[in-house]
Structures are given as C-alpha cells and as structure tokens.
C-alpha cells in the first residue's frame, strides 16, 4: 500500500440554523493514499462540499483532525499549507474574471512563490487541450473550457491530492464526460490522489474507492 497523503479522523461540523444546531458531519474518518482516486456521493445538502472544504483546509471542523502529507514537512493541517499540497477544482470554476486563461493557471504558482510560471501554465493548458485559448479571458471561454483551465490551475503546484467539488455540475452531459475523462487522465498522469465529490454514479464508478455521505456519516458504497 502506498503512503497516506490525506488523513481525517473524527471530523464533526455543525451549523447554526433558525431551528437549532444542524449537524452536517458526524465523526468522519477517511484516508486517501498517494495516486488513489476516491469518490463521495450524496444527496444535495448532505454535506459533501463541507467535507471537501474541511479536507482542503478551507474551513475548520468543530472537532476532529485533518492531516495532509506535504513533501519534506510530514503530516500537517491543510489550512496551514493552503495552495501547497492540495489542488482545488470547484463546480463553478472560480476563475479570476480579469485574468486570461494562462494567468489564471499561473496565479496559483505565483501565490505559492514559484516566480515566473508562464511556461508551466502554457504546458498545462496544452495538457488540457487549451493551448490555443491561453490568452482568452474566462468570459470568452465555454463552461467546459473554464473547467479545463481550473483543472490546469489545480495541477500547477504539483499537489499530492486534488479535491474536486462536482466539477461537471455546471456542464452538459457530453462536456461533463469530456472534463471527467480529462480530470481522471491528468490526475493519473501526475500521480496525484483525487477526492471527487459528485452526484453521478457513473463518474463515481470510475474511481478506485467510493463512499456515500448520508446523515453526516460516510459509508463505503
């Protein structure tokens, strides 16, 4: 078995609501190994996105621990190393409207302090089939193309794990399949692990391990 790149133990998260505390996640345990793909399915509002945000350090759990394997640094909390060990792919792409495709990709590298990163950004855009659209602004790209840019952005810092939150949720069926094929392909090529949150059983079936989130509990599917 390859080494663990992400480990979550006893994750709990609740939100305040007008009717009282809403327990979204109740003691979640999860391990993801290097190069492994994992899918999490669940109905709307089941807490899939919340779980992914906790795993990626975008939010903090009420209790429980998330640890991420970072090269030369061992296992550390992901919110302490945002942008370094994890790459995000969001449902609605989350690209910067004022930046071109290649600038959006390079931005992640620049924030991480990798300096001049245009060449790497262009290489990744070529990898996702968008070399000819590098100078285009997000408003000039289709939804599928925007998501390809987002995938390239997620890969630029060579993260150990990619967290994808319904990456095909805003795309039509054909484009969604293309983007999913691409995501699985490039993640495998870069030997990164993948945690995929999706509604689609078809896409989930293409991952190595599958989970279902319901009533705040994660169970193997």
């Amino acid at each position: 078995m390859s080494e663990i790149v992400l480990q979550a133990n006893g994750l709990k998260k609740s939100f305040k609501s007008p009717t009282g505390s809403l327990n979204v996640l109740r003691s979640i345990d999860l391990e993801v190994h290097a190069g492994e793909s994992v899918s999490i399915r669940g109905s709307s509002g089941s807490g899939k996105t919340t779980l992914l945000q906790l795993l990626g350090g975008l939010d903090v759990p009420d209790s429980g621990v998330v640890k991420l394997q970072l090269a030369n640094q061992g296992m550390i909390s992901p919110h302490r190393c945002l942008g370094q060990g994890v790459g995000f792919v969001f449902q609605n792409y989350q690209l910067m409207a004022e930046l071109s495709a290649w600038e959006n990709v390079a931005l992640a590298a620049q924030i991480a302090g990798h300096g001049e990163s245009k060449k790497e950004a262009l290489t990744l855009l070529a990898l996702v089939g968008l070399a000819h659209r590098a100078e285009h602004m997000p408003s000039q790209l289709s939804g599928g193309e925007c998501q390809r840019v987002a995938i390239a952005r997620a890969l630029i810092n060579r993260p150990a794990i990619i967290l994808a939150d319904e990456p095909t949720g805003n795309l039509d069926e054909v484009t969604g399949k293309e983007v999913m094929n691409l995501l699985l392909e490039v993640v495998a090529e870069r030997n990164a692990a993948l945690v995929l949150v999706t509604h689609s059983k078809e896409f989930a079936d293409r991952t190595q391990r599958r989970y279902f989130l319901s009533s705040g509990v994660l169970t193997p599917a």
């Binding site: 990626g56 975008l58 939010d59 370094q84």
Partner: protein, 383 residues
Amino acid sequence: MVSILGVGLGVASLLVVQTVMNGFGEEHRLRIRESFGECVVIANRPIAQVDELISSLNLQEEVLSISPYAEGPALTRRGSFSGVAFVRGVVPTDEDLPARGYVVSGDFNDLDDGRVVLGIGLARDLRVKVGDKIDLWSPVMVDQAGKGKAPLPAELEVCAIVRTGFSEVDNRAAMISLRRFRELWSLGNKVHGVVLRLDDPSQAPAIAARLNQGKPDLRFVPWQEIKKNFLEAIRFEKTMLFFLMFIITLVASFSIGSTLFSAVIRRSREIGVLIALGAKPWQLVGLFGLQGLWIGALGTSLGFILTWTILAFRDGILGTINQLFGDGDMVANVYQFAHVPLHYEPMDFFIAAIFTLLVTTLAGLVPALWAAGRKPSEAMRDV
C-alpha cells in the same frame, strides 16, 4: 474612477483655499510692511539726536534704508468739507517711501513744502482732487488760537492721492514734507520716529531685539507687532478654513472607505479563491491596502493638477461668479487687489498629500483586514 475623482476634488478644494488664503496673507503682510514700515523706531518723546541715530543704524548690515518721520493729527478743510487727518511728515526725496507704490492719481515726486499727498478716503471726504488746495490746522495752531492768537491755516495743494487698501491709512493719511511738519508742529529738528527697511523682513523681530540692546530710550517695533491682531486674524482665518476643509476631506475619505469596502465585498468570492490558492493574509492586506494607496496617489496627483488649473484661471472664474450673482469685483473693490492673490506653500501640498495617502491607505486596509480574516469557504459562497 469615482473614488479617484472624489479624492482629487477633496485635495483640490483644500489646496485652492489654502493657497488663496496664503496669497491674501502674503499680500496683507506686504502691505503692512509697505504702509507702516518693516521696523519702526519710536521713543517716549521726540527724538532729538536723529542724525546720530541714522548714522548708527547705517552701520547695520541688515538695514537697507532709513526714513525719519514725524506724525500727528490735524484738522483739514476745503470749503465746507472738513476732516481729521493723521499727518505724516516725510522726506520727499526718499525713494524708498512705500507710499510711492500706491499712487492712484497725481505724482508723488511733486511733494514739497507747499503740497500734500492724501489718502483716497480723506480726499473723498474733503471732495478734493489733484491740484485742489486744502487748509490744515496743527494742534500747535489750535493751542495758539486758545491763547487769543489767530494763526492762519497752512494752505497745501494736493499733488497725489494714494490707495493702500488699509482703511485706516486711506481714510486718514496726509503726507507732507518733514520740514513743513516740523514747522507746523514747532518740532525743531526732532522727529517722532524712524522707519527701517530690512534685507530680510521675516527676521524683523530678531533684528529689532538686537538693535534695541543698549538703547533704553528707543523702542524698535517689527512690522509683525505693528498689526499683530490683524495678522493673528489672518492666521486664525486660515486655520479655521483648513479645519473646515479638513472635515470635507474627511467626509470624502469615508466615501472612499465605503467604496473600497464595497469593492472588497463585491470581490469576496475572488478573495476566497485567492485564499484557497494559498494567498497569505498579508498578501490580501497588501493587495487591497495598495489599492487604497494607489487611489490616494492618483487622487492626490489629480488634486494637484486641479488646484493648479483652478488657480491659473481664478480671475476668470471669479469674474464669472461675480457676473452671475452681480456682486461686482469684490477683490478689487474691497481688497484693492488687481488679481486674486495666491501664494504656493510647498508645506501645504506636502501635508495634504501625506494626509490623503494616509487616509486612503487606511480606507483600503480596514476592509482588506476584514477580508483577510474570512474563511475561504464563507467568502466563496458570496457572489
């Protein structure tokens, strides 16, 4: 863009007011110096050893010229019109007499023992113009009349009329030759004082204090003391206007702050993404704080350009305002200035720039600090 314009207008309003007020202040200070002298030497009684005093003052490097004078009130009359004049006896050939610069009719060079130069207000009161003659009674003549004598008044021809802009000068001043004054006032060879012109008028208080040493009978009065209350009033006026303009600029700054805050709120989603990509709080603070600084820098530059433009066309602008409201030329009629005076003070520009940059940077920093403290999961939910 609107924020930059707002800052520019705030800076321009502050600097235009300050620069014009500086101009009025400078102009008034100049007129005080020219009307009353840069340093006046006076004594408790008429100065007898005037030649010795002049010789000793001539040895001082800072003293450019020395003008002895005598002064006192007198009754003036022309026909059925009369008035009280404050007569000053001067040396007619003295080229440094400041009044020479304020002649509005006639010729100051015509002043001699039989002629008089009048302030424009006094000339109006007496209904005289250049070439007319007036009668003048000094207090000595009044004394003689009290003793049963009937002295004839001195008959003097008006050779010039001056307008300095100071009502107390213009409404009462009459200048005659020092020799005639001594004769009419029975002053012998004495004078009442000496007016000094200095190479650096701003140093008048220090020079006066130094010259005063060892001369207990004399008092050297710098021009800043002669019209101290007036100068204080100008300074107070400027301070008050700065305070009012400061409040206007402060209000403009709050609008910049709210604009930047709105911009940060609007970009919450992007801020969340930046944090997710690893942006550190200091990078976000820098980004939005710099935006405030940038707006401040551009706004200040725009303000400087607007200030220069408005002041360059100030007379035309004021003329248009006067035409619209039918007020007449206030600057000429009230202040006797040919143009709206102005004086660029680099320190005012420096203070305005520093203040504006500080406020706009803070206005950008506060929302940036707020943004940097947000959870990315929350920020990305905002659209």
